[in-house]
Amino acid sequence: MARRSPLPSIPCFKMAAPPVQVQEVREVTRIERIGAHSHIRGLGLDDALEARNVSQGMVGQTSARRAAGIVLEMIKEGKIAGRAVLLAGQPGTGKTAIAMGMAQALGQGTPFTAIAGSEIFSLEMSKTEALTQAFRKSIGVRIKEETEIIEGEVVEIQIDKPAVGTGAKVGKLTLKTTEMETVYDLGQKMIESLTKEKVHAGDIITIDKATGKITKLGRSFTRARDYDAMGSTTKFVQCPEGELQKRKEVVHTVSLHEIDVINSRTQGFLALFSGDTGEIKSEVREQINSKVAEWREEGKAEIVPGVLFIDEVHMLDIECFSFLNRALETDMAPVLIMATNRGITRIRGTNYQSPHGVPIDLLDRLLIVSTSPYEEREIKQILKIRAEEEDVEISDDAVTVLTRIGMETSLRYAIQLITTAHLVCRRRKGTEVSVEDIKRVYSLFLDESRSTQFLKEYQQEFMFHEVGKCESAICCYSTANLGYLEKVNRDKTPVADILSLDSIDHRNKVHDDDDDDDLQGYFGLTIYSEAIRRRPAQPYDPGVARSKTEQGSHPLVQTLDRDETIKSHQN
């Protein structure tokens, strides 16, 4: 049975359904996912570009933020092109946060492209093509364009759900102006965006025909009597006049890459075989460049240099770096911001060592901004901000304990514990996350150092631990593993007997040619987690490990317990 209603209503869970009624599939308003940097709204600087200690979601890192603010000013003035900044610092010191802050501070009008260094390695596209596309996505062109829009008052929205299964939804939208009325058939995508924009009967909306973008202009004056139910923020507008479809001139910013794509699509049936992306011919790019230059001279368009942010820049290889050197010199280059957490390390694709894994000649062209580890009170502040962002009520004691965990392990681990502790708290029907919840998740989820400790103790029980016998297994898990094993070696655990330093060196030499040793971390992690997952099947007593942590043999657990005792003493 098709349900007739203006919009799928927000589900009401408390309502008890009569027992006989067939259960209706309800649409749940999607809970928005919270990103790791969703709390950042800017760089948190005052007018004199001095960093406020806590502002716009940013905490600490004052000198790095001030430096970023100066770069931002340069970008805003549009003076510099082809400048590059490198954010360097240990993991978890807010490099990405600063980049996100810059993006937020630049606002909507300036193109900001964020990519990760490893993103450009694709089998379908060459590295330089991917980099060129990223560059061109970061340069905007402000241009006036005539678009077709539909503008009118919503008379009725009707969405029919399929009676069974998961078929496509269909719908009808009736729009009117003072002079006419038209019914539109809606596709799946349109239904979704109408739902997302929460469009109801009586709203005045515009729909961009080319992009399908919906903008709500306000409520119709004829519905003004619903005012009380609407709240004071609702804007009332007149019902539009004349025809529903209008041509309107709008000024908008498109990136050079978008213009490339529009002009490179092969026409006719050939379009079926060539995908949207794929390589764009350099001739097309040259044509676009000269066309844009022409528009600029005629005053039709304006160039908006944007920002390209490359995270984990050490993942780029020597070819990419030499490409960057060249690309930064062209007159239409954006501002390049890079971030890395590496020290002096091998440049990918070579055997040379270099600071940050970036060749010296490129480093020479960079302004380097360094970030330093957070202090205790800064960590506390960040944890509080994150708790607020994730909608978690947390007691002051719990924050103190979390801060301690953050200091001794890592900030990221502490942030992870917020959500998990919140879930534990909800399970016991608590409203506020307490020290107990934190302690519980702390014992449930290992941090990196405890996990290492654990592996050191039970290395022998895991699969493939007999490294010497299983050459092939270890060979493909390259250096992270080897690095780990080396550490183990130094610690004089039994593994040391099996794998000598010499053999590690030997393997290193053999496998230095291929690049995949940069993937170390990932592969390393995979086998650990795999091993942990298989743990119950292993012939050892898991109770030993549990009792060890529970008894507080680990230093951090001890500190936690000590806190508790101190507190109880005070009480």
């Binding site: 009117k176 019914v183 025809e243």
Partner: protein, 215 residues
């Protein structure tokens, strides 16, 4: 005096259009008793026309445009005369489409008149009010029940910059269809004849004639 000036202006405009057509690159094809001509103008705009060869007087059946977007790239065909007989694309790609129950606006000319047919209009003839807006060079259709409204221009009249007159306009209603008729002025008829003369010069390919250069 004024009238003479106006006529020379109209003449100039019509020759400009004719020159434009002459300079365009043309491809002609006869298929299914229809003469199909494709024009590519110097600014990259494309136009396609179809004429019925059986009626003898080579009446325009279809004229559609392919205009270049501001950012380059071709837009969809825009129909000036005739209608898109292609099957509607699946909704999923479009997202939004006018429902088939809406009025459909189509231009179908006759030899002596411009004519527009608006199908799917169930209201009686008293509902409609069709007026000429001489200043904006458009014709406006209004309905007293506020269900349908349309404002359109006549590109053929715009090309020669001839003025629109209310007297030349008439309407009829039958079978859920409103028919709006506008009498073609003499200038337009002259121009159409000249264009036909010009088009006769282009050699038409027969269906199945494929340029083939075996190497």
């Amino acid at each position: 005096m004024n009238r003479v000036l106006l006529l020379t202006f109209v003449y100039k405009m019509s020759t400009a259009w004719l020159e434009n057509l002459k300079s365009a690159q043309k491809t002609c094809l006869v298929q299914d008793d229809r003469k199909k001509i494709h024009f590519t103008f110097q600014d990259g705009t494309e136009m396609a026309e179809e004429y019925d060869i059986n009626t003898g007087d080579l009446l325009g059946e279809l004229r559609k445009w392919h205009k270049k977007g501001t950012l380059g790239g071709a837009t969809k065909w825009e129909y000036e005369v005739g209608e898109d007989l292609m099957l509607a694309k699946p909704l999923l790609t479009e997202g939004l489409m006018e429902s088939s129950s809406n009025p459909i606006f189509v231009r179908k000319d006759t030899k002596q008149t411009f004519q527009w047919r608006i199908r799917n209009l169930p209201y009686p003839i008293e509902t409609y009010q069709v007026t000429v807006d001489a200043e904006n060079r458009t014709i406006t259709i209004r309905t007293s029940n506020k269900k349908y409204y349309k404002r359109f221009s006549i590109p053929d009249m715009d090309r020669i910059q001839a003025a629109l007159k209310q007297d030349d306009l008439s309407i009829a209603y039958a079978n859920n269809t409103l028919i709006v008729t506008y009498k073609k002025p003499k200038e337009v008829l002259d121009l159409e004849k000249a264009v036909q003369e010009e088009l006769k010069k282009t050699k038409a390919m027969k269906d199945g004639d494929v340029e083939c250069n075996p190497s």
